[in-house]
């Protein structure tokens, strides 16, 4: 294709009229292509140097979040109650359309406590539009670090837990992923999902906090925080001491 463009330039002896005809034909050909090709290129080509499976850039994350938050359908599904931005991730949906080749997308996921629901928006980063909005079961929406911090703050107000942790209880912090060994008093969290409607955690956002001092965990004790109900339960299944609320075993 390139040789097709360059070939007529080489002979310097062509007359001006031949040149004019050549340019007219070439430009006509190119302008016929440009509306679709340029539109496609401008709309879909990712930021310079960013390929289909490259991670989202900080700018793309910001664009994705802004586009999702400005979308009326997303706003409607998120509602006005307590909610959480959970994640902004690269999405690479296959549509089978040639026009979608190489286009960049992001999935923006929110959680709303009311009704235990997630809202998932697929954002076309090139077009800066929301292509699809889906409501998903809240059980399929992961916890985020901000929620673990909230859970720890709630738990550290629980008298029985304070007694178990001792006078340094306020030193406990949520473990950071990259330097867990350097944090002497750290807390890790695991999500609890209840399958029985009788369980207080059923359809609630519950997690189990693991308190770790150096190499050792606080063993034999379960600390369960219900973020939906904003309650804390401290259980010691193998002991006779009375926990604030006994967790029913299945």
């Amino acid at each position: 294709m390139l040789s097709f463009f360059f070939l007529p330039i080489a002979p310097g002896h062509l007359s001006a009229s031949v040149w004019r005809i050549f340019w007219a034909l070439t430009l006509a050909f190119l302008f016929q292509l440009l509306p679709t090709q340029l539109k496609s290129a401008c709309a879909q080509t990712p930021p310079h140097g960013t390929l289909l499976f490259d991670p989202l850039t900080a700018e793309e994350r910001e664009v994705a979040t802004r586009v999702a938050e400005d979308n009326p359908r997303v706003r409607d599904l998120r509602g006005s109650g307590r909610q959480q931005l959970v994640s902004v991730e690269l999405a690479t949906p296959k549509t089978g359309k040639e026009s979608d080749e190489g286009s960049r997308h992001a999935e923006v996921l929110y959680y709303r406590y009311e009704g235990n629901q997630g809202v998932l928006a697929l954002v076309d980063l090139g077009q800066r539009t929301v292509r699809e909005v889906t409501r998903i079961n809240g059980d399929a929406v992961p916890l985020v670090t901000a929620e673990v911090n909230d859970a720890l703050a709630l738990a550290l107000k629980h008298k029985e837990l304070i007694n178990l942790l001792g006078p340094t209880y306020q030193q406990y912090q949520v473990a950071t992923q990259n330097a867990p060994e350097t944090q002497p008093n750290r807390v890790e969290a695991l999500r609890l999902l209840a399958s029985s409607a009788k369980d207080p955690c059923y359809q609630h956002r519950c997690l189990s906090l693991l308190f770790r001092q150096g190499e050792t965990f606080l063993t034999g004790t379960s600390v369960i925080v219900d973020l939906t109900a904003q309650t804390v339960r401290v259980e010691q299944p193998g002991r006779t001491s009375t926990p604030s609320v006994r967790r029913k075993r299945k």
Partner: protein, 377 residues
């Protein structure tokens, strides 16, 4: 005239490059940048003639850890690239404890991510290179004996990428292996420490992989159920096609495997080329939850179907999956019986300290992809 030509040349170059810029990428083009792009030739010794080559992308994804995209294999330097994978990921870690509680869904319920590795995780002496600010280890190394026939011998090589998800008290090693003979492995290892509130309680580490296998591109793929059948002194091997979305069980007596083929892909012998999904497992985990009732699921590609507990609903109504864009889900498990070797006793209390790595996984093995053995000298 000279200046006019010069201007014209620039204008044409810009217009021409715009035209090419907007042209869709060929299917085998590099679809990610370094360090997310890995291309490995075999043998790795560049003084020897090249035989085979893998190229693939990887990405770090919250929840799923290390995800493989756009994996292509080439059986010889003169052969075309064959797409194998569009997207392969661990999609769920289901950990039910024997007492009935807790029952963790570690991927869908928490945004666990990869933790940073050190050179001790990924020694250069084992062919290791740390990538992406030390979140991922790439190892290129000998994989042991590939073939021997008395005095003749062939050792194999592989490139492995892996990372570790920090999931509370547990770490999960997500590992992907690409071998010189076109085989690909997905494995997960569970390690770190036992669950502190119940450190001596047995439990299952159920691992789900979602494999969007796009052999030779995404349309035209079909799945067959490979099954071995004994009858008296004879035996037979069957491979009926999966016609509609379905959940399937692994039968150890049938050596159950899924055969994935593409209607347009044949080797030089005219045989349909494919990949066999072969479980690497020690048992079969079945629990109360409906999504644990099958070991394989075959679904039609839908980008929003990413939630394992919803698997039973994805196959109702059962849509056709022959000659289409299919997704294969595989479920395996590591059964963890806690032992004193997992920790130590202090004042009669067991402190969980070291749960050694327990692995489970699968193999994707090429079948009639090469025209002949790739190993004979």
């Amino acid at each position: 005239m000279k200046s006019r030509n010069g201007l014209s040349l620039s204008l044409l170059s810009v217009l021409a490059s715009l035209f090419f810029w907007a042209t869709p990428l060929p299917v085998h083009a590099q679809l990610c940048s370094a360090p997310y792009f890995i291309e490995q030739r075999f043998p790795t010794d560049t003084s020897l003639p090249e035989e085979t080559r893998w190229r693939f992308c990887w990405q770090r994804v919250s929840k799923n850890g290390l995800v493989i995209n756009a994996a292509y294999f080439r059986t010889s330097p003169t052969s075309p690239w064959v797409q194998v994978i569009y997207d392969a990921r661990v999609i769920e870690l289901f950990v039910p404890y024997h007492s009935g509680s807790p029952r963790f869904l570690d991927m869908s319920s928490y945004n666990f991510s990869l933790f940073q590795l050190t050179p001790n995780h990924c020694p250069a002496a084992t062919g290791g290179t740390l990538l992406d600010n030390n979140y991922v280890c790439k190892q290129v190394h000998d994989r042991g004996l590939a073939w021997t026939n008395y005095g003749k011998v062939r050792r194999g090589e592989e490139v492995v990428v892996w990372g570790g998800i920090g999931a509370g008290n547990y770490n999960y090693i997500i590992e992907w292996t690409f071998r010189d003979d076109g085989t690909m492995l997905g494995q997960v290892g569970a390690t770190a420490t036992n669950y502190p509130p119940q450190p001596l309680e047995a439990h299952m580490h159920g691992i789900y992989w979602r494999l969007d296998i796009d052999l030779n591109g995404f349309p035209g793929d079909s799945v067959h159920i490979g099954a071995h059948v004994e009858s008296g002194l004879t035996a037979n091997d069957l491979a009926p096609m999966v016609l509609r979305e379905v959940g399937l069980q692994w039968n150890p007596l049938a050596f159950t495997a899924l055969h994935i083929e593409d209607s347009t892909l044949k080797n030089a012998q005219g045989h349909p080329s494919g990949y066999h999904l072969i479980p690497l497992r020690t048992g079969t985990p079945r629990h109360q939850e409906n999504f644990t009732k099958n070991d394989f699921w075959v679904t039609r590609y839908k980008p929003t179907e990413m939630h394992v507990p919803s698997l039973p609903t994805y196959i109702v109504p059962a849509e056709p999956v022959s000659n289409s864009d299919v997704v294969v889900w595989y479920y395996g498990a590591a059964h963890h019986l806690p032992r004193d070797e997992d920790g130590r006793y202090v004042n009669n209390n067991f402190q969980p300290l070291v749960a050694q790595v327990m692995w489970t996984g699968f193999m994707l093995k090429p079948h009639d992809l090469f025209d002949k053995t790739p190993l004979y000298p």
